[in-house]
């Protein structure tokens, strides 16, 4: 079945890849890598492109164009060729898509196979950094940072919102990036903890502001309900993290370290001007200490670290627990519905409690984004395609269109002056619950493939008043700077991954033991030595080297 035929085909493929790689190298050779000025001669690639296209212009191809694209089909709103999104997009831009529809369940796998086989569609959205790194070596993916001059809206937003530091996170050792990320004006704080507000009222507790307040709140709850754990948490999978990974991440932000879901092995120590190993930081220890106290005082269910989400939610639904990690959607879709059967029960997501870091927030302002197949560079429509991508994903008009649709049909008013409203019969998540037409299912707008990122005003337009209040508190907090870029070469990455895997297992395992009290925190120094035995020092040296050499080369 897999005879010589396959072999032949493959070697031809490999030759193609090789050629693409050499071409990419050639392009790289004459680039100055400052971004956007090094795409080479584009005069043969301008078919269908607009001669004059700038910020605020409506993109419209001068002749009808078709681009192939991967489209993720979300089970909540499965792909539908009849969506108004497609027809309206063609009407506005003269562009239609030839989609490869991939179920969300296995999107990444199909993307890998198609890119690996050299058969991928031109536009490959919904890629999360660093997933694109796997495809760079083969030359299958376009270094998009070379072509930013074709994307005025992208450049405008990066400059206006001061996103250069965020983009630097995506850079590879060659100084380029291969993914066009979604851009947010501000860090979007979504996750916090949900609290049963009726219990707060009954016990006369104020909404906690800090993690110490949370501790006090849990104690008061425990005193009133001695047979229950007031906190039983969820999101113990997926990793990274020892369990209760979202709670860990939130605490990590408050203490100034990476923990749980956010865990990264290196933490940028700005005062020392170098990276340090996260799992050995004092701040990391404090996070463990905090959780350990909750467990030992029987305020937190020890099963929080191991149970499934369903188990945690069942405890919540049965009124056995009063506090759980959440995001905005979960409050509306799950937590509130879960306790609807308990008379008088109410729930709210409280502003993220603060820790030693004070009123700050940490996070990335870049999102998942778009990869472009390297072969697109040779298409005669290449310039038009870049302009189109720039319009749909990065212009104000394009972002508004992808998110809320057609003025007068799916929405009325304006996002900028706060008069935005969904049309009376249209519903989305918590907005307009009485509407009968779902914006995503029926019209195809607010599709995760196209709609993300944008201004804070655009983001705020999707929130019901309750969440808006949360956002207003969070918008008042200072965003911390991100670590400087420290991209690894392919070889370094391979070595680093080996160390990381080993270290992560150990950090997670020991963190769980410290939290659950199976290992006393007095053994912390011994634990740090054990980490060194697992090459944490070599790892950090590698990262610091990468940081230094990137700084020298690309300043």
């Amino acid at each position: 079945m897999n005879g010589p035929f396959t072999k032949n085909t493959l070697s031809r493929r490999q030759a193609l890849f090789g050629a693409a790689g050499i071409a990419a190298l050639a392009v790289a050779g004459c680039s100055n890598s400052s971004g956007g000025k090094s795409g080479g001669d584009l005069s043969g690639n301008r078919d269908g492109a607009m001669a004059k296209y700038g910020v605020g212009d409506q993109f419209k191809a001068t002749s009808p164009l078709t681009f192939s694209i991967m489209v993720l089909s979300n089970p909540g709103y499965p792909y539908d060729a009849k969506w108004a999104f497609w027809s309206e997009l063609t009407k506005r831009t003269n562009v239609s898509f030839q989609p490869t529809v991939v179920p969300l369940s296995d999107y990444n796998q199909k993307r890998s196979v198609m890119v690996g086989a050299g058969d991928a569609p031109t536009i490959i959205p919904k890629t999360y950094h660093p997933a694109e790194e796997a495809y760079i070596a083969s030359g299958a993916i376009l270094p998009v940072s070379d072509y930013l001059d074709l994307m005025p809206n992208f450049k405008d937003k990066v400059a206006k919102w001061n996103l250069q530091g965020d983009l630097d996170q995506l850079r590879e050792a060659d100084g380029k990036y291969y993914l066009l990320p979604g851009l947010h004006q501000d860090v979007w704080a979504d996750y916090s903890i949900a609290v049963r507000t009726d219990i707060l009222q009954k016990l006369n507790i104020a909404v906690p502001q800090t993690w110490d307040d949370v501790h006090a709140m849990l104690r008061t709850m425990k005193a009133a309900y001695p047979n229950q754990y007031p906190l039983s948490d969820r999101w113990s999978s997926p990793g990274p993290g020892p369990g209760a990974n979202r709670l860990m991440a939130t605490l990590g932000d408050a203490y100034g370290t990476w923990a749980g879901w956010n865990y990264q092995h290196s933490w940028w120590d700005a005062t020392a001007g170098k990276f340090v190993y996260t799992g050995a930081m004092d701040q990391y220890k404090q996070v463990l200490q905090y959780l350990n106290t909750l467990v030992s005082e029987k305020l937190m269910d020890p099963e929080s670290l191991t149970q499934t989400d369903d188990q945690a939610k069942q405890k919540w639904a049965n009124g056995q627990t009063f506090v759980i990690s959440t995001n905005a959607q979960e409050v509306i879709n799950t937590l509130r519905k879960d306790i609807a059967h308990i008379p008088g029960a109410t729930v709210a997501k409280i502003p993220v409690p603060m820790g030693p870091m004070g009123a700050t927030k940490t996070g990335f302002r870049t999102e998942n984004g778009v990869m472009i197949s390297a072969k697109a560079r040779n298409s005669k429509n290449f310039v038009a395609m870049m302009q189109f991508i720039d319009w749909l994903w990065y212009s104000d008009a394009g972002e508004l269109f992808a998110k809320w649709g057609i003025e007068g049909t799916t929405y009325t008013g304006s996002v900028d002056d706060g008069t935005f409203k969904l049309a009376p019969d249209v519903t989305w998540a918590g907005l307009n619950p009485s509407g009968t037409q779902n914006l995503q299912v029926k019209y195809g707008f607010f599709n995760g493939v196209f709609a993300y990122g944008g201004s804070t005003k655009l983001l705020d337009s999707q929130f019901p008043p309750e969440e808006l209040a949360f956002q207003n508190v969070m918008n008042g907090r200072r965003t911390l700077p991100l670590p400087p870029p420290h991209p690894l070469s392919a070889d370094q990455r391979e070595q680093a991954t080996l160390w990381e895997t080993n270290l992560l297992d150990y950090v997670d395992q020991q963190s769980a033991k410290f939290i659950l009290g199976q290992r006393p925190l007095s053994q912390w120094d011994q634990y740090v030595t054990e980490l060194k035995g697992r090459n944490s020092d070599q790892y950090i040296n590698l990262i610091n080297q990468a940081y230094q050499s990137y700084k020298q080369k690309h300043g």
């Binding site: 085909t9 979300n74 909540g76 529809v101 979202r246 639904a317």
Partner: protein, 312 residues
């Protein structure tokens, strides 16, 4: 010479008269009790998830959330069934599954039977090479991407053949069938040849009528595996109207559990939770047809596999 009816498998031996029966020993009775207990345990363990899903499919969403649904539906309702049955994608994909399963099973049966029959003839030159080629594919394959490139370059993508052809012959099934054919007495075919039947005539008129048991078993094996399969369809189909219902179902469940490996945690793409009751209904509707084949084929099932094994 034996007659065809004597050879027919599944023929019950007459029950021995009462006086022949040996009184079961104490040890044997203990064994029977233990055996029964263990098997009942197995039955419960395998049936419970199914009954649970069945109960969930008739329950209200809030009852499922509280974890109060076990064997009996709570908050009985049929609205979820109505919702799922209104979804046109579901039915399109369902039709695809039926179509893929029927065509694939038919082609697999034709090819597997022919191949197995040829291999069962010891006088065939190059027989061991042919067996070797088949067995080789049990242990080695080209890998995901080469297979994809092959199917793609043959122009099979987005057609039924991408699902049917690469999986047409299952080597395990092939070997079982070969063993079965080998167990048939050669004299029978010689006699048929003397009476003037061609090779194809022998296969069609003598061998196949004697092989109903193994054929029924193989049809069941193939049909179940094609009905349940999702991977080739997911890989080779680029349009959602070509997906089988298994891909639809997998997406539905993965979407709810976040098993898709997407970083939902940091994404603004709100992962819409598909209600547990909708998942349950889809599972039930997907499982029922293939489940309802079993009672009709079961009688061949055991004897078919056993015959190949014991006599081979």
């Amino acid at each position: 010479m034996v007659t065809i009816s004597e050879l027919r498998p599944g023929r019950k031996a007459p029950a021995p008269p009462a006086w022949v029966r040996i009184k079961p020993s104490r040890g044997y009775r203990v064994f029977q009790v233990v055996n029964a207990v263990i098997l009942i345990g197995v039955v419960v363990a395998t049936l419970y998830p199914f009954v649970n899903i069945l109960a969930q499919s008739f329950s209200s969403e809030s009852a499922i959330r509280q974890g109060s649904v076990n064997l009996i539906p709570h908050g009985f309702n049929l609205t979820t069934y109505k919702t799922v049955m209104k979804d046109s994608t579901f039915w399109t994909n369902y039709r695809n599954t039926v179509e893929y399963t029927v065509v694939a099973t038919f082609i697999s049966m034709v090819l597997t039977t022919c191949y197995a029959y040829v291999l069962s003839k010891h006088h065939l030159k190059g027989r061991s090479v042919l067996i070797g080629i088949a067995v080789f594919t049990m242990f080695f394959n080209g890998g995901l991407i080469p297979n994809y490139v092959l199917v793609s370059q043959l122009g099979l993508r987005n057609t039924l053949w991408a699902i049917v052809l690469p999986n047409a012959i299952n080597v395990f099934n092939l070997l079982v069938m070969k063993a079965f054919f080998e167990s048939l007495p050669g004299e029978l075919e010689e006699a048929a040849a003397v009476d003037g039947l061609t090779t194809y005539g022998i296969l069609w008129r003598i061998v196949l009528p004697l092989s109903k048991a193994v054929i029924a078993t193989m049809i069941l094996f193939y049909a179940v595996s094609f009905w349940n399969s999702w991977f080739s369809a997911f890989l080779y189909m680029d349009r959602s109207d070509l997906f089988p219902v298994t891909v639809y179902l997998r997406n539905l469940i993965a979407g709810a559990t976040g098993a898709g490996g997407m970083n939902e945690g940091t994404s603004s793409d709100t992962s819409l939770q598909v209600a547990a009751s909708i998942q349950a209904v889809t599972v039930v509707l997907t499982v029922i047809p293939i489940l309802s084949i079993y009672p009709f084929i079961q009688k061949y099932f055991v004897s078919g596999v056993m015959l190949g094994a014991v006599k081979g």
